[in-house]
Each structure stands twice: as C-alpha cells, then as structure tokens.
Symmetry: C2
Subunit: 342 residues, 2 copies
Amino acid sequence: MADPKARPVTLRSIADQLGLHVSTVSRVLNGPAEDGARAASGDTAERIRRLAAELGYQPDPHGSGLRTGRSRLIGVLVPRLSDLVLSTIYEGIDEAAGERGLTTIAANTLDDDETRRTRTKMLLARRVDGLIFGDARLDDAFLDRLATDGVRFVLVNRRAGNHPSVTPDDRLGGRLAAEHLLGLGHTDVAVIAGPPFASTGADRTAGFVEHYRDHGIRVPEARVLHTPFDTAGGRAAADELLRSPDRPTAIFAVNDFAAIGALGAARDHGLRVGTDVAIMGYNDTPLAAELPIPLTSVAVPMREIGRRALELLTRLLAGEDVESELLPPVLAPRASTGAARA
Amino acid sequence: MADPKARPVTLRSIADQLGLHVSTVSRVLNGPAEDGARAASGDTAERIRRLAAELGYQPDPHGSGLRTGRSRLIGVLVPRLSDLVLSTIYEGIDEAAGERGLTTIAANTLDDDETRRTRTKMLLARRVDGLIFGDARLDDAFLDRLATDGVRFVLVNRRAGNHPSVTPDDRLGGRLAAEHLLGLGHTDVAVIAGPPFASTGADRTAGFVEHYRDHGIRVPEARVLHTPFDTAGGRAAADELLRSPDRPTAIFAVNDFAAIGALGAARDHGLRVGTDVAIMGYNDTPLAAELPIPLTSVAVPMREIGRRALELLTRLLAGEDVESELLPPVLAPRASTGAARA
DNA sequence: TCCCGTTGCCCAAACGTTTGGGCCAAACGT
DNA sequence: ACGTTTGGCCCAAACGTTTGGGCAACGGGA
C-alpha cells in the first residue's frame, strides 16, 4: 500500500520506466479531458495507466499544490465536533467532499471569537481552497471582513447576513412546533431559545412565536429563555420555568439536548412529561426516539445539509453565482408531548 | 488576513524587499535552532522577522512539504465522528496537535473494512506524517499489514495486538462496575457488551466477569449480550434480558448510549430504574449526569486519551521507542443504580 | 606577518507537478 | 511534388521551500 523503504513512485519514475517524458505521463493521468487524446496514442496511454495502477501511483499533493496553487483541501469550522448536530453535518460535508476528491479539515471554534480567528488563520495557512463555517453569528463582522478579503466560504446550519448558506428552514420548523403544541391545546407555552446570536435558535423561536401570534396568542418575552444549546442549559431554564406557580403547560426547546435537560427538570419537579407538562425538542437526534420517554422533535436533514453546503462551496469555487438554500424540516411527534405512545 | 488579489507573500518577496537572499530569510524564520545565529546578524534577523510579521507571512506547506517530505498532517480514523466518545477523543487529539503546529484530518470508517481501507489510502495519498486509529479490532490484519509496510501509527481507545496504543484501563473499569453492583448486593447481573471485536467492550466485560468470579459468582454466558454501541442496540438487548421471568437485577452496559436504550426498555417493562432494576453505563458522557434518572457510569478521561495518543504518535515519529498507555477510569455512582440521589 | 576560525551572508540544487510551447514525422489536400 | 495539418511526443520553466556548500571579510593568536 505504501512502502516507505522503496523510492516513492512519482511521475518521473513511471516516465523513465516507459522511456517517456514526465509531461506525457502527467497529461495522460490527469483525466482525458480534451488533452487526453492529444497527449499520447491510445496504446501509450494504456501502458501508462497500467503501470501507474500497478505501482499504485498517487500524485503528490505538495507537487501539484505548489504548481497549481490549489490544495483540494476544505476547511470546516464548527462550534464543537462533539455536538452531535454539528458532527452529523460534518459527516455530510466530508462524505460529499470525498466523492469529489476533496479532503476536509475540521476545527472547533467553541463559539469563541479568538479561537475562531486563530483556527481560521491556521486553515488559511494550510492553503485551503475554501471554508465552511458552522458557527456564524447573526451579526458577524468577522465573516464580513473575510468576504471582503476575498476568502471564499459558505455557511452551514446557521445563516448570517447574506453570505451564501445552507440551513434548515428554521422559521418553518418553529411554526411546525407551534402548530403541534397549539393543536394539542397548549396556550400557555415557553421557549428555551438557545443563545441569541445563533440564527437557528432565533429563527425557530421567531417562527414559533409568529404562529401563536397568528392565532391570537401572545408568547410573553419572559417565556423565552436564552441558554446554551446543551443539557445543563436546558435543565436550568426549565427549572426556572417550572418553579413558578403559573408554569407553562408546554415547553419548546430549540435543541434536543436542551430538551433532555428539561425532561430532567420536569422530573425533579415531580411532573409527568407528556401528561402534566409537554416538552419538545428540535433536530430529531437519534437519541430522541430512544429515550425512556420518547421526545417529540422536529427532524432536520442534517447530513443532507452538510452535503449541500459542500456542493454550494464547490460551485462557488468554480466561479458560479450561488444562492442560499433552505431545507424543510418535518415534525416527529412522540410521547413527550402526549402526542403518541412509542 | 489573506488578500488573494495581492501577490502572496513568500520568502522571496521578503528577501527581495530587504535585499537579502531567500535562504537567509528561510533560516532566520525557521526558529533560531543552532542555525539561527549563523544565519544572520541580530540586526538582520530582527528586520526579517519584523517584515515577515508585518506582511503576515505564512510559509506555504506545499513548498516546504515538497522539500522536506513531511506534511505536518496527521490522519485520524474513527468509526464515527458523530459518536460522542470518539468525537471527544478527537477533540483531544486535535487540541494537542494544534499546540504542536500539526493539523489533523479526520475520517469515518464506520467500522467497515472497505471504507477503512479506502479512507486510509486517501490519507496516505495526502502524505500524512502519521495516523491514529480509533477503530482497531482485536485481531486486526489490516493494521499488521500497515505496520510491516512501514506506515507509522498509534491506536486510541481500542487496543489491538501490540501496536502502540492509548486506551482507558477497561479491565479495571469493568472491575469497578462489578464492585459497585456487587457492593449493592446484586448477584444476578447481566452485561450489554458491545460488538465482540472491540477491545473496549471485551475488556470491560472481562474485568466485570473476573471480579464476580473472584467473589465466587459466575456470570453465565447467556447473560453477556453483544450488540452495537448505540441506543437501539442497548434497548434490544435489555428488552431480551428483562422479558425473561428470572431477569437480572442489574445490567451493566459497556457504553452510555446502550445504557440509555436499556433505560427505555426498563420503562417499557414497567420497571423503576434504580429500585426495581439497576442499570449502569460506561464513559460518563456529559448526558449521563443530566438524564431524568441520572445514570451511574464509569468516567473515562476521553479528551486526555486523545491528547496522549497524539503525543505518543509524535514521539513515534521522532524515532523514539514508545509504549502503550493505560489511563485509569473512575466510578461515577448515580441514581440509576439506586446508589445516590442526584 | 601568516594562518585560522568566525561571522554573515549568498548560491544552487532539489523536491513533484503542471502547462505553454515547441518539433518531427506522417498523413492529407491540391 | 509541395505546402499544410495533425498526431504524438519532448522541453523547460515555474511554483516555494530547505539545506549542504560555498566565499569573502574580519578578528585574534602565534
């Protein structure tokens, strides 16, 4: 597969062995675009390809990168890879990249400005051809700056400004959640909305509130709590909501992990989830359906979102004009809102 | 930060601007090893460094990679990045890599032979300096082959043969679990053991069974179930265990997600977890403590394991002889075994 | 004074690839 | 028979870096 004792196989070694010039070999092996024919006779081409395959030739990216100025490397920045949502999206990105002969490099930014800056710099130093940001903020000066600097990138999961992005249709998702809870008769509801700078949480919340407003019900500001997208955050927020005497009858968490935290808080308060209080999440993480009390959620095609983002970026890199994409979510009703017995 | 309109800043552009030779600039900027002094006068060196900083010079990895034959790239292969355990380990790896100026490239192998082979090939084609495998199998011909081919790698999380590895002390962890359950009086126990080819599951199970044997209690083979490391697998296994009339009073799942599945199954059977049946997991995922019924687990320093693996690899790449490392786990008792009220 | 060692820098080659431009011979058109 | 095209290949330069050797100038010791 790769014997480092042996001299590495290069274009040159192939050319020498066949008594040809290295440029001929290069042209033949670089896919028979229109050049293929002009490069060598069918017979020669065949000999080259056979030997290359036999020796297991793999072009050295240093050589070609140096010459062409392109690396076929894509940088992917996410808040955290250990967040299931982002790692799933990343899997989609990487899968699509692999199909195009591209390689991705992931980096955590921890939703922290400084980290993000240094990680981006490191990726640019690596000469990536383009970037995918999964940690955009609603008002993102850093990205604006990058764009004017001519760095090419797309956003995924979270949108920002009018940088090209691939995101779930979060406003619609929020509406689906509202429709579900309102349909079950809940008029006194609350939202665990995630951090305010993320479009995901903001849009889901906005859609949710809108739908209720369209039906003449106002969701008070005090019923919209901003916490991190994790279990502890969800638990804390739900605890606060449930402790008050006029507690809501339903809670919409914009993220499954926050919802799981809310489940715990409900239990602490002696409430039966699905009957005493309805709780729903978002993203339809694989875990949601398998929980002791299956969690109602809104399914988002995370992997597909990743794939599309990569495709969008390749089109951008090819010089095309691109437009943002919005992928539709689907409601997944389960027992945690009393909607179904799993 | 990086203006692609402007000519990229290279050693040459710096040298020209200062009326120096490119080699002088190179030596100065390449860290003042012993060469630094010999390369230029303190004054010249200072001017070079200042200009380089001002222009934001970043060495082109294609150039240096081509010349040195090293890429400062590390390939990391894991079953799935969307598995929280692996993604956390990967974060540790990447963190440690960053501190050393190395960049990691991750790839999913899905615990599938073919995928693994092609992904490895892709990484080698990228000319990575070394590899870290997180998906080793107990009897791993592929890795043996790679080793004899001279490819340099270390293993993480799962061990195999005597390839250098950094893993949790799973046998000890299994013993801790057994000690905990036995201490609570459980003599009729079962294990959800994960797939048989992974050392993690196998060693945890072995340690668990050993401890019981040491205390004169035999855990029957029929009480050790092999399923995938996920929620659905855990649920199915627990369902089978709990349906029989002489059901075990305690279940040890070698993975938190399998344990969560088991929680669901217990609920389906109308059993109260922590009183009617004890269930514990492994890894002490952040989720474990936050679940509605907090899950007893065995904490493993996943991030640290990742860090150590990267360090081990760098030592290996430096030509040192290295030895495998075993990191100790710690019991985290919680309500799911009735051990504590959270 | 001669020699030697240092300091401070330059020279040039090499790594593997791509690509615009040759050049020769055969085939073709008239 | 003579000019033109085309097929099939080679040449050479360039990308940015590192690194083993230079080579002058200068200082110090004998």
